[in-house]
Symmetry: C2
Subunit: 484 residues, 2 copies
């Protein structure tokens, strides 16, 4: 096989990409294209090859006269298969009359490559190649995550995710936020839920702490450190997009053990509305950038995602806001009129279940539910002045619920009053001595502030219309062990 892995010309990397060629149009000049074969259809006089080099999602159609194939050696001829890499030289022309109707999968550009010379670079044995043309199951493709980018769905997701990341960087820059790096190895367990990974060192079976006496966890959230830079570090507005970890065994469509979060903190805010409007602005600007950049390629591959992005950007009206009390009331009314609507009857005490969240988001579209009872939420959330109708203490917080996915974002004002924070930490049974630095932020120039964390794969899942978050990250870490 390696015999056919031939060397190309020295200038290979200086060549233009398919995207460059397509934007130049049908120049009829000699060009060289290095790419992978997406598909090949051999017809009577010519063969149609869909080529993709990664520079755009659509690729280009190449037309090989069968006379040229007849001149090629046997191994080249046999090697022209899906998945192989090739160097084709030829001329770019307008697609010719009869060729316009090829297949639904054919590149849509009106330019095609008239091939004059063929070189097989890397073979791809059809007998063992895992990514065949037929539909694979998601778990099968996950086990072949190193190759699944060659499927249209994953390739498009990867491009959309890139667009989203770029849009996120633009949005926060324009809003005056400083991007900061959060530590992943940490000695604090932000959510206090205990489901953390430990970082150890040493031979298998004899792992020891690397820093004896100091607990080393993988971070579950960058929030506390982000607060430190925002308030303690005086940056005022900060954000990051990066990995977080939860050592949970949740085998669902919405959970990963290693996932990405987009988190932001802003100082000098006293209303939840300020934080919610940042979230809403961010998500809308991401959806709008996706439409601009990936809209065309999503039409065929991710049509549901396209619809969602269009609906998110089609109205400038603010998303629905409901207090927790209002949400429970709505759910109780709905449950009364249809006894089979929910598996779990909504109740103020039990909190919102996934099915309740989905009901609200299906009814209203993206919905902020605010002001939850303090007992349902982490220690750092700011206590409201007034309690709720049930006479419970509530906190100034929100969850953003979106259709199909459920909880996408969690945010709150942070408790900036030292005495209230200490009281809350004690109530949550936390060891204050581990959080002295966090308390310092309330000792030395404290300021009212708030922030949020957005689950990145959930956002990819929602805006792409992809069912499972494991298809929303290149190499998922979930319930199944991974060989990557």
């Amino acid at each position: 096989m390696q015999a056919s892995l031939r060397r190309c010309t020295q200038s290979i990397a200086r060549r233009a990409s398919i995207r460059d060629y397509l934007s130049a149009g049908a120049t009829n000049e000699a060009v060289q294209i290095n790419a992978w074969i997406k598909s090949i259809r051999r017809q009577k006089h010519v063969s149609f090859v869909n080529l993709n080099d990664g520079s755009n999602s659509d690729g280009i159609q190449a037309v090989i006269p069968n006379t040229l194939l007849a001149e090629s050696d046997d191994s080249t001829n046999a090697g022209l298969q899906t998945g192989a890499s090739v160097t084709f030289t030829g001329r770019l022309t307008e697609k010719q009359g009869g060729r316009k109707v090829t297949s639904a999968q054919a590149p849509k550009s009106n330019v095609e490559l008239q091939v004059e010379q063929i070189k097989l670079i890397g073979e791809c044995d059809g007998a063992t190649y895992p990514i065949q043309k037929k539909d694979h199951t998601a778990p099968f493709l996950r086990r072949n995550a190193h190759l699944r980018g060659r499927t249209s769905t994953i390739a498009t997701m990867l491009r959309v995710r890139d667009t989203m990341t770029q849009a996120c960087y633009s949005y926060f820059r324009e809003q005056g936020y400083t991007n900061v790096a959060m530590p992943l190895i940490t000695s604090s367990d932000c959510e206090g839920a205990g489901e953390v990974f430990s970082v150890m060192h040493g031979p298998q079976g004899k792992e020891k702490p690397f820093w004896p006496g100091t607990p080393s966890y993988l971070t579950v959230s960058g929030q506390l450190h982000l607060e430190a830079l925002t308030i303690g570090g005086g940056l005022g507005k900060t954000w990051h997009l990066g990995p977080c970890f939860r050592a949970e065994r949740s085998d669902t469509n919405r959970h990963l053990n290693e996932f990405w979060m987009c988190e932001a903190e802003l100082a000098w805010t006293e209303t939840l509305e300020d934080v919610m409007s940042v979230v809403e602005g961010l998500v809308k600007s991401i959806a709008s950038r996706i439409l601009e950049t990936n809209g065309e390629s999503m039409k065929q591959v991710l049509p549901q995602g396209l619809d969602i992005c269009e609906s998110v950007t089609s109205t400038s009206a603010a998303w629905k806001r409901l207090t927790y009390d209002q949400a429970i009331e709505e759910l109780e009314v709905a449950a009364k009129s249809d006894a089979d609507l929910f598996q779990h009857q909504p109740s103020h005490l039990d909190g919102l279940r996934s099915e309740h969240e989905r009901y609200l988001a299906d009814k209203y579209g993206p919905t902020f539910v605010t002001d939850y009872p303090a007992t349902q939420k982490p220690f750092y959330m700011r206590e409201n002045e007034a309690s709720n109708v049930s006479n419970e203490r509530t906190v100034a917080c929100f969850d953003l619920l979106v259709p199909r996915v459920g909880e996408l974002v969690g945010g709150s004002l942070r408790e900036e009053r030292l005495d209230k924070l200490v009281q809350s930490m004690k109530e949550h049974g936390m060891a204050l001595e581990n959080y002295e630095w966090y308390l310092d932020l309330r000792r030395y120039g404290s300021a009212p502030h708030g922030g949020f964390g957005l689950g990145w794969e959930r956002l990819v899942s929602w805006l792409c219309g992809i069912e499972n978050v494991r298809e929303c990250i290149p190499f998922p870490r979930g319930a199944e062990a991974s060989r990557f």
Copy 2:
């Protein structure tokens, strides 16, 4: 203390930032500024307060008539100290004649705030506040990393790092690369050096693997996975900027246990020059963006960094390229003419020591050293056709050496030929069965490709002129245990 943590008006977050006000100029309109006190100087008739809200590096000067202070209550008056947070209302005017000469540290803008009303928001007890005006040692500030952003050096570094990140995203987007997320928990040890952290789970002292039977390490490099997306996934050009981990005990200025890497892979390249030109373009465009965005604020705080950025962007000439053989020869000549030049005499067999790397970078500025003996480099580097003058096998690789820092980037063409790769892995004593997926990339449409990894904190260190990489990341993980 908390009694003075007063509530501001509801519209607080909708206020403009200091940056916004300064760009609008001296409007003489009533404004409200929420900020931290950087310093306060009480004079006969007025007090000068340098305010900073994080929206720019310079802040704004506020002028409080002492008559106003006389009207304030005692706790407010006493609370106006370095580090406290305040809400000042007043009018923006041109700086007044006699006030232009204040101090070297005063904000340079010609606009100042004539304060009419004062509110103390968060006190900062000068008796215990760790970040006083006087110079602190770097280790002391590291132990107070949650507050050290209030020092000018760290604040400026954080802003420069943000600029660098933004510049990096722009550069790769313009060059047609797809940004991808690399897994941090992985079962492969890319460099084969064994200095990896293990990811475990469970109560302290009884930690167990989370995925039994599958090794779980923290990644030492995203390269292998990046290759998978570039070649196996057909994206063609990919990159990422994210954390990597090494469980080494190197207590130096250049090492961290958790550090960031910018890595990129490009398909269809057969010459090292293609890869080096991406690196050179990237670093030059980052330096140029720093000058644009942070040049002014670096003048006072990081003047050495400013010089470096200027020298990097001042010439369009390509950086020096030397083969390993040429480098050794140069060093041997230099050592002959000055016996005390090096502690370790340069020799072909021993490789380049840090002192040798520094000598070359001091002499030539940024220098690419290429084509090292295969035995000195990892398994994945592409073997050159010709061996070197010592008749050793060499690989198509480079290290980029820069003044003061030494090795900043490592890159190579990757071995894309299956048989050569298998041979190299065997020679490196690797367990092939763990790398079947990596070998698949050479089985199914392999293509010539190359890439590099750039140490992000080393780049921050170099371009900021900051001695130690621990001052180049918000929360460093190094030899000392960290409480954050």
